[in-house]
Symmetry: D2
Subunit: 409 residues, 4 copies
């Protein structure tokens, strides 16, 4: 495995997911934890040319005035999600990363996220979209120069922005699209400005949130032109992962899903942002569409997300699936998922960073559809079933795994 | 689709599964129900050369003195699993099938099942294994002649027999194996005697239970020699289906399953037979092995099956999956499955009958590994993940479905 | 038990609850069902002077053009909640009751309920509140005369009305209160007009819904002046019953409830009405307040009610209770309640009718606080714990049950 | 509140419950934790003459060679049940208590518990029951003298012993009963020998386990003669607490419980001991009887307890309650309880110690039936409903709480 320095630049760099990403990355580097939760540590990935954990250098943008270590400690004490002793050992590295974090932009993030911004850290209040892109690019360039980086991967792990009105109507070619930066008001939210800045500079961009990011079609042209790559959106971590695993069962067994109700409760900052109905709308849409795509028809669905403070990072989902079986008889499957939101997301971010750099080493540019299985709404991919998405990844690996009809021992 | 008369011969022909199979078959023929729950009614199977529902003629063996209609009515009134009005409409056809049911054999079924046998219907108490096989073959021959059948498929849907000691040590070639029929005591249970009788006659044999049936390797030789075919064992209907759907998720996401506990409660006759620890042992083993095969390691597992009379046919399973995520943090997934046992099994039996005849039309003989996805313990198949097993079926169909990386609309 | 004819007049007389009430009443009379679900059939009530099931004559008001039997049959076939054979046997009696049902009033019911009204059955569209009260009283008088009734009990089982603005500010004395009938717009909804009509006539009034009904304090004066009696509101049937049973456990064990989330899904007409946010507001408030009253502090709570059509009458509730135990450690209790909404409500309505008549026989007038345990928001009662509410009933019975510290055998 | 030194002597003094008891007691004394989970800290108990937390001195008997602090740390790190930082602060006090712990006895504990004993700490292998009693009394006497104690309360929190054959046939008077100590083999298990030693010495004895302890009737005579007091058995902490809370609901609503299935999984040492079917039998019986006593009839019940190592101290119970409602329609209530076994038990032990001393201050001797609500099988008490048991405690307090029929504000 060739050694090289790779930048991982996180948008929302001191949030719960980012804190967990850096805690885990440092712990992996120091061999304090087993590589649980990381797909790229499975045997299938052994021969892939990809970075080692120690190759990554982390920086990012943030709008709140907090410390990475404090955020991680909150996960440890309030949510009992991280081992306190582990955290003490990675504290110096977290503090070093903290110093590489720069003020983000508030353009188009909506009032709820904007309300979280701290004045003290220099988040600009009056920049234009063009200025914001230029400032972000300056930060990325200085990061690459200071750290002697071969490649920087920008990953958006910030809170969910409100949906952009008529996103489907945005120009599909780059030239008219980039002119939106000068339009007033500019329809592009922060997540897309980061995407413009990154891709235009030849950095990779991954959108781990349901925000607009690089979703518009025009970004493919930009990515290919700058020989960079991108993918999204919305990391598939819990309830929606379960949907993409269970729905194919109902489809293949020809059981008719009459209704699928999913209630999600959790208490972290992302949850607080989603208490704003505008922001929630983007999230719910992203959690809801795939059932119809897998089943081939649209059962009645209901997705709720509620911020319950006492739960901290523990995302609990109850799903009630009412289906009709043989002779038309109704039956019920229910599941209860109790997982730590940030701890489910963080290893995916690390896997995505590794795989994105592997794509670069292979010379691939444009959209990275082989990463579909990591996302609730995989950009440009119709397949929503999780196992088949994983097969897409294996095929890309050059290691297409087939069903094993051989003898059992 | 070529029209032809196909025999479906059920072992345990008046049990809950059989009653539901015939109720459903008659209802399908009369177009009283939609084809929900039937895999072979999915669009993918449209071009497969297989029998129509009206091509099937049903008969079978049974040891209890009951009526098919009464058994089905018990599912309707006590379990509220079948619509009473529907049942009234199929009653005459059920009665006609009843008249084609012959007394089964009690050899090797164990004391609990033997205790269910009724003297009044002429179940022999003193036949030898050879005599039993001969009698069964006579019944099958008369059935085929009387009904003018092109092919008969014997499906074992009887209650679970106790496991056979040292089943792995049985002869793997047919000649020494068939000599076991003369051994005293003969190690072969009823389910295997039916398999011998069926395959030797050129009928197909499908083992929908965890009983020994045609599991011994020697049956492959017999099946090929007689140009017949067979498969098993143990229909994958509920909790184990869920395991084969969920375990790949944990494997592909590299989440470590620490323990997987499954508690099953139900109140039908099969449940009553499983209250005998000997019979239960066979079932639990069949429900338990696949996790290790999918995950690649063996988490602590526990499977319980309890007969709770009030539940009738409603099989309720609670599974508690304790897994370790990123940073070693323990998380929990629980599911509750509330399904009608017989109504989940019956459409699989119908699908298996159709697909077995389709294999015959294609000239295939021997084990039918493409049917792996229908079984908890698919004979001769290492793949235990449900979606990949379904892909095996699609590949056999000549219609290999691939992940769809195309544009979403 | 003295024989006498007692009228049971249902508001919403062809809804799901009413259909079940009459089905059950007729079935009890014909001894087709055991008295399960009826508190007044417990041994403690053996000596209470109350009506026999055969003493009741049923009539009511309704706004929809449907048949009682069809509504009950929908519960039988779509929801599998009632036995079809049972229903066939009570059909003639249901049809007889149908003929005693008169058109109700739409005043103040809100647009969603008003939208359910059928023109064909003569529901007046332009009456004034005074006229509505007079018409209702005429119906009640004719019912009593035609059926030779000693006492009529009016029970509101209609769908939930939107809350009345500033209900707390309504006059507390009868004289100014009754003048509201002439005010335009009149703030009193239909449920209160029925209450006025009934109590003024000396009939009893029971409000089984969260609608305003006889909640205003002024109704006590009216009830006492006319020597009638009343109680409400909102029958405690499922999730809230569970809250009033579980919350005392947390209180007595000094376990701190941090959050209590309850999600309710069901698919009957009441559920459809509650899809209107205005109507839902009244219901949620009624389901939510009691936790704080039992615990002595207010944990974060969330109550949702969603109309999921496939569930029919099956109300499913998932409650997630996050509590803090010793050393401050968070723990979780979850429950899942799967009950038939109408079948849980109906026996309470029958019990309430019996107990209301028993109160009359004792000469009691005014509010019937001893019935607190039947209601989510028992009017004028602070006690919200279910067992203690039951003790209030036992005390009223003259049969105060005490904890039994005697020897166990 | 009079200050005085009170001894708390724990049998199983370094087990999970004991470690949590002492951790909590020290933390309460140092005001490091709020008094959550402690009934005696409710306002109702404000005026009760009972010891302060700082009045207690802890010692005990143990058979394993472990350290209190290590056991508590295992709860902190493996089970994430105790805060690590909290534990560090109480470590010196835990070590001091460790030094007061003496070797226990293995007589009658059964092979599984005996297998846990460490040779290094001097647990006698060949003592007679009389010798064991004498040795235990010597330890208690030295403890009282060294610590200047006014009263010592012995609480059995050791693992569950196998049931004693024909326990009901033991002599009911003290004289013949005490002669059993000389019988060979002696039918009395360790838990009863500790009870003999304690009560004979005038100490109080509380049996927090389902072991025999002071259950035999003869202990009442001994306790009264020595002016001491006792109670048991089996602390009501989780699933059974829920049963005693929920069963009254079904009883008062006249809903027929058809079956009640409870599956318990947990991974601590107590769970390991219960994997021995003999020990488990005692526990299951204690968890199962109360349903019949509350309901007045015996539904089908099933209780399982399985040791699932990964769960550590997290006891998870799934209960499935199948009940029949109005018109005979079956409905389902399920609950899932996720609690820390030791943290649920420990505050009850502290409450029991306080209340036992309060009984002494009042001059009460013999069985303490007012403590019924703390036990699964309250000795000599027929009442099994939790709220009514709490009322017994309130009545004893001189503070009988009545349902509050007053106006709600």
């Amino acid at each position: 495995m060739a050694s090289s320095r790779i930048g991982l630049w996180l948008i929302g760099a001191r949030g719960g997911v980012a804190s967990t990403v850096v805690t885990g990355l440092v712990a992996l580097r120091q061999r304090l934890i087993p590589p649980i939760g990381l797909t790229t540590e499975l045997p299938d990935f052994k021969n892939l040319d990809m970075p080692d954990w120690s190759d990554f250098v982390v920086g990012g943008h943030e709008i709140r005035n907090v410390r990475l270590f404090d955020e991680a400690m909150d996960l440890a004490t309030r949510s009992r999600a991280i081992d306190v002793e582990l955290l003490r050992r990675v504290e110096p590295d977290l503090n070093a990363i903290d110093r590489r974090i720069r003020p983000g932009t508030l353009l188009g993030v909506g009032p709820t996220i904007a309300g979280l911004a701290s004045d003290g850290i220099g988040v600009p209040r009056n920049e234009t979209p063009r200025e914001a892109v230029a400032r972000i690019q300056k930060d990325l360039r200085e990061f690459a120069a200071a750290e002697n980086l071969e490649h920087t991967i920008v990953v958006n792990v910030a809170s969910t922005e409100p949906p952009v009105a008529d996103a489907a109507g945005l120009p599909t070619e780059w030239e008219p699209f980039q002119r939106l930066l000068d339009k007033s008001p500019c329809p592009l939210p922060a997540s897309s400005l980061y995407a413009v800045a990154a891709l235009d500079l030849g950095c990779s961009y991954v959108n781990f949130t349901p925000s607009l990011g690089s979703t518009p079609a025009a970004f493919d042209e930009l990515a290919r032109a700058r020989r960079s790559r991108h993918m999204g959106c919305d990391g598939k971590t819990g309830e929606t992962l379960m949907k993409s695993v269970l729905a194919p069962m109902f489809a293949h067994r020809h059981l008719e899903v009459m209704s699928w109700v999913g209630h999600n409760i959790f208490g972290n900052l992302d949850g607080r942002v989603l208490d704003d109905p505008a922001n929630k709308r983007a999230k719910v849409a992203s959690k809801d569409h795939l059932l119809g795509e897998i089943l081939g028809y649209r059962p009645q669905t209901h997705v709720s997300i509620e911020h319950i403070a006492s739960l901290g990072d523990w995302k609990t989902a109850w799903d009630h699936i009412h289906f009709r079986g043989f002779l038309g008889t109704p039956m019920v499957l229910q599941f209860i998922w109790q997982g730590c939101d940030s701890l489910l997301a963080a290893p995916l971010v690390l896997d995505l960073a590794r795989l994105t750099d592997a794509a670069r080493r292979r010379g691939e540019t444009g959209p990275m559809t082989f990463l579909a299985g990591f996302f609730k709404s995989p950009r440009g991919v119709a397949e929503q079933g999780f196992v088949r998405q994983f097969e897409m990844l294996e095929t890309w690996l050059g290691n297409p795994s087939k069903p094993n009809p051989g003898e059992r021992n």
